[in-house]
């Protein structure tokens, strides 16, 4: 699998459509999901996902497989593209204001209710925090990989994740 991927990366480096299509087919959904976690407007998500691949293919010569995997490298581009888009639109995240946040009415400890509250709480996180949760709990990446993808140190990242968990715990806990 890794061999095929490297071959296809080489093919894409030669400017051949076959390589591009393989990489888009393999990583398109992954990138779309990461962008979707950060960008609130669903209409922008596909456009930005396209931009991620355009940028990646234009800088394919810079990709070094010894430094990071292609997925990690691509996620880093996606993270930066989404952040730049948010900045250019003047969109920051909704602040996580625990006083303003009103969780949905919960009559009991039902798991579905809890999930709904958690989902709402995640909506109120900053885009970077949502990206962190996505990479950690959906993609299952290690903190080291996420640190590479978000271009931050692993230590502060672990602290940040802990703080997010505490906030969410307060918001959904009863």
């Amino acid at each position: 699998m890794e061999n095929t991927e490297q071959q296809m990366i080489d093919v894409a480096r030669q400017g051949k459509a076959e390589g591009y299509k393989y990489l888009m087919g393999r990583y398109g959904r992954q990138i779309q999901l990461l962008v979707a976690q950060m960008v609130p407007d669903a209409r922008d998500v596909e456009e930005l996902t396209q931009d991620v691949f355009v940028r990646a293919f234009e800088h394919l010569q810079d990709f070094n497989p010894r430094r990071a995997s292609f997925a990690t490298w691509l996620n880093r581009i996606a993270y930066n593209v989404a952040l730049n888009h948010l900045r250019s639109q003047g969109l920051s995240s909704l602040p996580l204001n625990e006083e303003q946040y009103v969780p949905p009415e919960a009559a009991d400890d039902d798991r579905v209710e809890q999930m709904e509250r958690l989902d709402k709480a995640i909506d109120h996180l900053r885009p970077e925090e949502r990206a962190l949760l996505h990479l950690r709990y959906y993609e299952g990446h290690s903190l080291g990989e996420i640190a590479e993808e978000m271009e931050v140190a692993a230590g502060p990242l672990a602290n940040r994740l802990q703080r997010i968990r505490q906030k969410l715990s307060k918001l959904i806990g009863k």
Partner: protein, 198 residues
């Protein structure tokens, strides 16, 4: 407030993130084609930018080459400087008549200061490099101011100022102007000194 156990929270977060991912619609069928089209457009625009830059550089080089080829025949800068210095050292009977003494003589003969006098002097000094001698001091006493002005204006009209091919003369004229300005400054200094003495 009950605290949720870490393991339970991890599981909840995993479920929550999975559900959020499931809500995201899949990419459109023509996603790959759209990316390829975008790349083509960007390549075209970047090529256009490169062509524009290359064109601008080529045009600048051509203009530079044209100016270099059509530059006026001129002496080396060292030779020009030497020439200017030599002319500065030339005594009063040489063709250059912009010495402070000469100008002072003219002013002395026509004590009423008028704007036209200074005009005459500046124009005259600019062109005096190749002009005949201005009569001074005895001849000047016999020459009325109007005639001097008229002669100076005529000389000024004849003065070649726009001829680029005559660069050494232009340099000499600039040098003469500088000397003229300097002499006027010196004259003013002397006048001020006289006034102070009075």
């Amino acid at each position: 407030m009950m605290k949720i156990a870490d393991n339970e929270q991890d599981k909840l977060l995993q479920d929550a993130m999975r559900r959020r991912a499931e809500r995201v619609p899949s990419l459109s069928d023509d996603f790959a084609e759209s990316v390829m089209a975008k790349m083509k457009v960007r390549r075209r625009s970047s090529r256009r930018t490169i062509f524009l830059w290359a064109g601008s550089v080529a045009a600048a080089l051509l203009v530079g080459f044209f100016l270099f080829v059509n530059r006026p025949e001129e002496q080396p800068v060292v030779a020009q400087k030497a020439e200017v210095q030599t002319e500065q050292e030339v005594p009063a009977e040489k063709p250059i008549k912009t010495e402070p003494e000469n100008i002072q003589c003219q002013v002395a003969q026509h004590p009423v200061p008028s704007p036209s006098t200074s005009t005459v002097k500046s124009v005259n000094s600019a062109c005096l490099v190749e002009q005949p001698d201005v009569p001074c001091p005895d001849e000047a006493q016999e020459t009325p101011l109007e005639e001097v002005q008229l002669a100076a204006e005529t000389e000024a009209e004849d003065c070649p100022t726009d001829d680029i091919s005559d660069m050494p003369d232009q340099l000499l004229m600039v040098a003469a102007q500088i000397r003229d300005i300097r002499s006027r400054g010196e004259r003013l200094d002397r006048e001020i000194a006289l006034l102070m003495e009075d």
